[in-house]
Symmetry: C2
Subunit: 310 residues, 2 copies
């Protein structure tokens, strides 16, 4: 039994479920580990693509005459040797979509000036069901690349659906500024702790408790604290598992070490416990400061010379 | 001629090119407009997938017995009617990977409890070269979904490469807070202006000048100003094209209108012109406020009763 229904173009926002907002792309983390990618081209755009796919652990084949290689491409191929297979020639035809073992590539990227050749590579790739991206030609792309921020294991992608590269860049800058300096290290350390916990308590039935325990650690430890969590600290934290409670930074490091930081971090900790002022804007802070300053100085004057305020 | 070279595992950071950081996914905006997606399952996870793919304009087929539909899935199918084809039954076999016209689906997502069935759907899809995602089973996924923030045309995806859902969520919250309230509207309006500019100056040879002009607008107008840019404003802005200069908000709105906003936006504009205090933390603001408050009140006391401060 099957029902066919045209999708409605307006979706009510009065529903308790998230509103569907058409017009986006499907943002994905494509898995390239153990996959083979073919990159046709050797210029600056190709060099950007190379970084994208090698960041994702792909096996990479590049086809481009050596005369067309940019400085970065030469560096990646000759010095860093991150290109797994390099063919010093132009794209030859459909047979180039198969690797040395006769297997189809898992993804094809082109970044060349010849738009006719690009189009024909796109058509061949689609016929063979290989996902393809032709740089700068949206209709010949099964997927787009976006503006990516990377901090160790953290990846943040900003996409404005092609509304404007400049404004996408401005959003990217805002997002970059919002990330704690050591966010990459903090996430890496949490990953290590999570692995150790799974080794210590491997049972599938404990997965819910493991997750709640990890949440507990992330809530009790700040970014700075997580980033500086040593392997020894982790052993102490894991020792708390049996008690069903994640020890705090103070419990692990000892009070002296924990409170050694500046007044700034002390104040931060104080305010973090107070939800109302936990997030305070510079404007409100300035106003509050002004009031406090006025009150403090008037109080001092009043204490010394009460008649002055009469 | 071909060169085979093993990729080096360490990449020097002394190079002038970006360092390759392995271990990520390839973050992409997959294009689903005009593509057909098959979703097997009808629970809460399936409902999340449905929103993902309908946000990206896919043609969606759902296979799931009605008895297994979650409240949200029922709402999407029966009330919103955003599911294009619904089959009230279980997955039947390989023939279900072809649509009514006998064409292979472009993507297959499963979110069912039966892990043997999931695995066999994954194997069939891969054999037919259909990208596939089996919820919660990483090895059976060609791609992962991440934590997505959506503001109109803006999409921001946060991925921690599976290091921990809690910490990914914490990063997501930081990123969400960093986005201006009206960022979606501002980007939409910039997209409209860009379309109008392309209509007015369609020549390919002007693409560089068009881009520089759009950058100029985005630099001179704040987020708030871009978000409230009307169609009439755009005509006035576009009138500046021949002069080779994008008019500012003040030039378009007139000084009175432009400065009508609150003291808050005036202060913001003042501080924006001053790079040192352009980005000020609540802490510095509070301290500055305190000093200003003390100075102001002491000044007042001194003016009234100079002897009080002696």
């Amino acid at each position: 039994m099957s029902t066919s229904a045209g999708p409605s173009t307006t979706s009510s926002s009065s529903s308790k479920y998230p509103t569907i907002v058409p017009g986006g792309g499907l943002i994905l983390a494509w898995q390239l580990k153990g996959k083979k990618v073919l990159l046709v081209g050797g210029g600056m755009v190709a060099a950007g693509r190379l970084v994208n796919v090698k960041d994702a652990d792909a096996h990479l084949t590049v086809i481009s005459p050596r005369s067309g290689l940019s400085g970065e491409m030469k560096h990646r191929i000759d010095t860093e040797k991150v290109v797994d297979v390099y063919h010093d020639r132009s794209f030859g035809g459909e047979e180039d979509l198969y690797d040395a073992e006769g297997k189809l590539y898992d993804m094809v990227l082109t970044a060349i000036d010849d738009s006719d050749l690009s189009r024909s590579i796109c058509v061949m790739a689609r016929k063979l069901r290989i996902p393809v991206n032709v740089a700068d030609v949206p209709p010949e792309c099964d997927f787009y690349f976006g503006s990516l921020i990377r901090r160790g294991p953290l990846q943040v992608m900003v996409s404005t659906g092609g509304k404007g590269p400049k404004i996408a860049n401005q959003v990217r800058t805002l997002v970059e500024r919002s990330l704690p300096e050591n966010v990459g290290e903090a996430i890496s350390r949490v990953g290590v702790l999570r692995g150790k916990l799974r080794e210590r308590v491997p049972e599938q039935k404990e997965s819910g408790r493991r997750m709640r325990w990890m949440i507990d650690v992330c809530e009790r430890w700040s970014w700075d604290q997580l980033a500086e969590m040593t392997d020894r600290d982790m052993e102490l934290i894991l020792a708390g598992w049996e008690k069903g409670k994640a020890p705090s930074y103070v419990e692990v490091k000892g009070v002296t070490k924990a409170y050694a930081p500046t007044w700034h971090s002390l104040a931060k900790r104080f305010f973090a416990t107070c939800p109302v002022v936990g997030y305070i804007s510079p404007w409100s802070a300035g106003l509050l400061g002004f009031a406090a300053g006025a009150a403090a100085s008037l109080g001092m004057v009043a204490a010394r010379r009460p008649e002055a305020l009469r």
